[in-house]
Amino acid sequence: MSKSFFIDTTLCTACRACQVACKQWHDLPAEETENRGTYENPADLSFDTYKLVRMREEVIGGKLQWLFFPEQCRHCAEAPCLDTAGDETAVYKDAATGAIIFTANTKGLNVDEIIESCPYNIPRKGPDGTLAKCDMCLDRVHNGLLPACVKTCPTGAMNFGERSEMVALAKSRLSTVKKTNPKAALLDPDDVNVIYLVTEKPSLYHEFAVASNTAFDITRQVALRRMFKPLTNIVSRLL
């Protein structure tokens, strides 16, 4: 059975505990940042930052919304990065959970190609050329604990469990949220193990919120072995 996250952005308050909990558990160093005219920081995912809450101010239908999107690796069902790497000692799928795991052996591979293959623009290169990203807190999960980001989330925005349970939860929340937000949708739910629920156009949350975002560089898509389906088809197929 694979595991999945369900991230309900309608409940996210951008408290960013998930960002810190991730660093805390993984003993990741802080980055030197500066205020760039936004609360969002660091500016991007990095070798030392696997989780990042994107914060966007948008006026939609005359109403101001502050959209929050806790970004992380989607642990794709058919992960392009894994196929691109082609080395099971460097990138592999954990059989028990479906987690896509990067190891120190990514060093020396063509990491730029691996990065380029990711439809969500997740992997990041370290100073010595190794790659890093969210590891689903596999040590925790294998020992019966929730991933650090999910455990710390106060509101229920972050959820984790058996894929079937998460899919059911995602569907149930979608149908509730749709009553007040007709545009509500799940992002790429069949293809990934990190399912987001959003209420607005995905690109408003973050450039790489969905795989088939139009802002997406065409070369990146070409690099994919399996093309993701267009947005209109994928968002609500679970219903």
Binding site: M1, K3, C15, R16, A17, Q19, V20, A21, Q24, W25, H26, E88, T89, Y92, D94, A95, A96, T97, A99, I101, F102, T103, A104, N105, G126, T130, A132, D135, C137, L138, D139, R140, V141, H142, N143, G144, L145, L146, A148, K151, T152, C153, P154, F160, G161, E162
Partner: protein, 191 residues
């Protein structure tokens, strides 16, 4: 104290130790033969209440039983009825508050007109403070006010703080200050 692990386990159906290599910097030979152990497995577990805001969230502190005996991990206490395992960004960083190289670890003294701190011993610092307290108090102490009423106070010493103290510390702190005759005793609730 007794803290059991009873509900620390949250995800159902997990196996004890899987084949996982997370993060980086590990020696990966052989890659999948390394059954990863939780870093908290052999640590001492104690419960605490977060020291930031007044929601009063519970957290579990994992302290190494070996070596320097320092904190390995602090995360939300799932058995705490208020926060049920969750913590905010500040709470999630509790470990870094304690294990922090910026912390003060020695009493320091700055002499009048000096440009720098000097490290001193506790005994030296507290003896000198006691001496200063007595000098100032005795020089400024008023047994009676202008109306001739008994007031037994000093307005020459002021103390502010502290909602950062435990209840028990608060009580002995205010008792000591009031016994000295301080009336200027104030704290965070005023600001």
């Amino acid at each position: 104290m007794k803290v059991t692990r009873r509900e620390f386990i949250q995800v159902t159906g997990a196996t004890a130790a899987g084949l996982a290599v997370s993060g980086l910097g590990f020696d990966l030979k052989p890659v999948k033969a390394h059954a990863q152990m939780l870093k908290t497995k052999y640590a001492k577990e104690t419960t605490t209440i977060c020291c930031y805001c007044a929601v009063g969230c519970g957290a579990i502190v994992h302290t190494s039983k070996r070596g320097d005996g320092r904190v390995i991990n602090i995360e939300g206490d799932p058995d705490h009825v208020i926060n049920r395992g969750s913590l905010c960004s500040k709470g999630a960083s509790l470990k870094q508050l304690t294990e922090n190289e910026n912390r003060l670890t020695e009493p320091m003294y700055r002499a009048p007109y000096s440009k720098e701190w000097k490290q001193v011993s506790w005994d030296w610092a507290l003896s000198k403070i006691a001496k200063r307290v007595k000098e100032t108090r005795d020089a400024t102490f008023k047994v009676k006010n202008k109306k001739g009423q008994v007031v037994n106070r000093t307005e020459g010493i002021v103390s502010v703080g502290s909602s950062a103290l435990d209840n028990e510390e608060c009580w002995i702190y205010q008792a000591l200050m009031r016994s000295l005759g301080l009336v200027y005793v104030e704290h965070q609730a005023r600001i």
